[in-house]
């Protein structure tokens, strides 16, 4: 019976395969127009996968992320291959001149490999590609 439970636990844990972002803090103070955000990224897929970390800016709604920021953001490295269940420590440097407490969002994106299927003899077929992204909100204060 105990063995069955253990087997079920292993099977269940194998299904948790998403990437996750862990922030050291929820709030960061800007010094010299720069906020330094410490974070860790992990995933629990069965094999090493490539992940991309990116930052999204604020919108008028503090619960919604805006556009991906391409300027004023430095993450080293921002794309990397990560083994399962390993924590990758990263530091994000955000240059901003916020005048009030402002939400930002840091995200880890996983794009699965494309499985290309050719239509056989004019057959109608299709495939759907679902990329997944996990984001965490943090606040930047002047």
């Amino acid at each position: 019976m105990k063995r069955c439970f253990l087997l079920l636990a292993v099977i269940w844990s194998g299904q948790v395969s998403a990437q996750t972002v862990f922030l050291e803090k929820k709030e960061y103070t800007v010094r010299n127009q720069t906020a330094r955000v410490k974070l860790q990224v992990s995933h629990s897929r069965s094999e090493p996968v490539s992940l991309t970390v990116r930052v999204k800016g604020p919108t008028s709604d503090p619960t919604k992320a805006g556009e991906v920021l391409t300027e004023g953001v430095a993450i080293s490295p921002s794309s990397f291959k990560l083994a399962p269940n390993k924590m990758k420590k990263l530091t994000l440097t955000l240059t901003t001149n916020v005048t009030q407490k402002t939400p930002y969002f840091v995200c880890a994106l996983y794009i699965p490999p494309v499985e290309r299927k050719e239509a056989q003899g004019g057959a109608t077929s299709g495939s759907a590609l679902l990329a997944t992204e996990s984001c965490s909100r943090f606040w930047v204060t002047p």
């Binding site: 998403a18 929820k26 997944t132 996990s134």
Partner: protein, 153 residues
């Protein structure tokens, strides 16, 4: 001499427990912070779509797992479809059961905020359906791409 050994033995017995009791109290303080997180994954692998019996749509199914240890939202980015050249008009949709559903190719769609701790498994349904007078889907290969994003608040 025998008396001295006996006295030493008695002293050792009496003193030893006193020594072992000295300094036995210890304060243990443990503290930690659990980061808020969410994650979402397509646990069913690649989704292939096949034509329906009515020949009017391609349908695919998969499964997702969503988990969060606090308030979180899930959204779908604008859908990116592709179809055979010259295909008759069609529509597209992606549905993550109980989380979010979209048929928009122009903007992202947000689901309702999930509050508290959640671990949800559910079905993913993808569909490309005809939208023309003949009510038929043109032959050929179609694809549909989107990104499901969860945000821990």
């Amino acid at each position: 001499m025998k008396n001295k050994f006996a006295l030493a033995a008695v002293l050792a017995l009496v003193c030893a427990p006193a020594a072992s009791f000295a300094g036995t109290s210890a304060d243990i303080n443990a503290s930690g912070t659990a980061s808020s997180f969410c994650d979402i994954s397509n646990t069913g692998g690649p989704i292939s779509m096949s034509i329906s019996a009515n020949k009017d749509k391609l349908v695919g199914t998969g499964t997702y797992l969503f988990s969060a240890n606090g308030d979180a939202t899930v959204s779908l980015s604008a859908l990116t479809p592709s179809a055979p050249q010259g295909a008759a008009a069609y529509t597209e949709s992606v549905n993550l059961a109980n989380l979010v559903s979209s048929s928009s190719t122009t903007s992202a769609v947000d689901g309702a905020t999930k509050t508290g701790v959640n671990k949800i498994t559910g079905a993913i349904t993808t569909e490309i359906g005809q939208n023309n007078a003949s009510e038929l889907l043109s032959s050929g290969a179609y694809s549909l791409a989107t990104t499901a994003t969860c945000t821990a608040l």
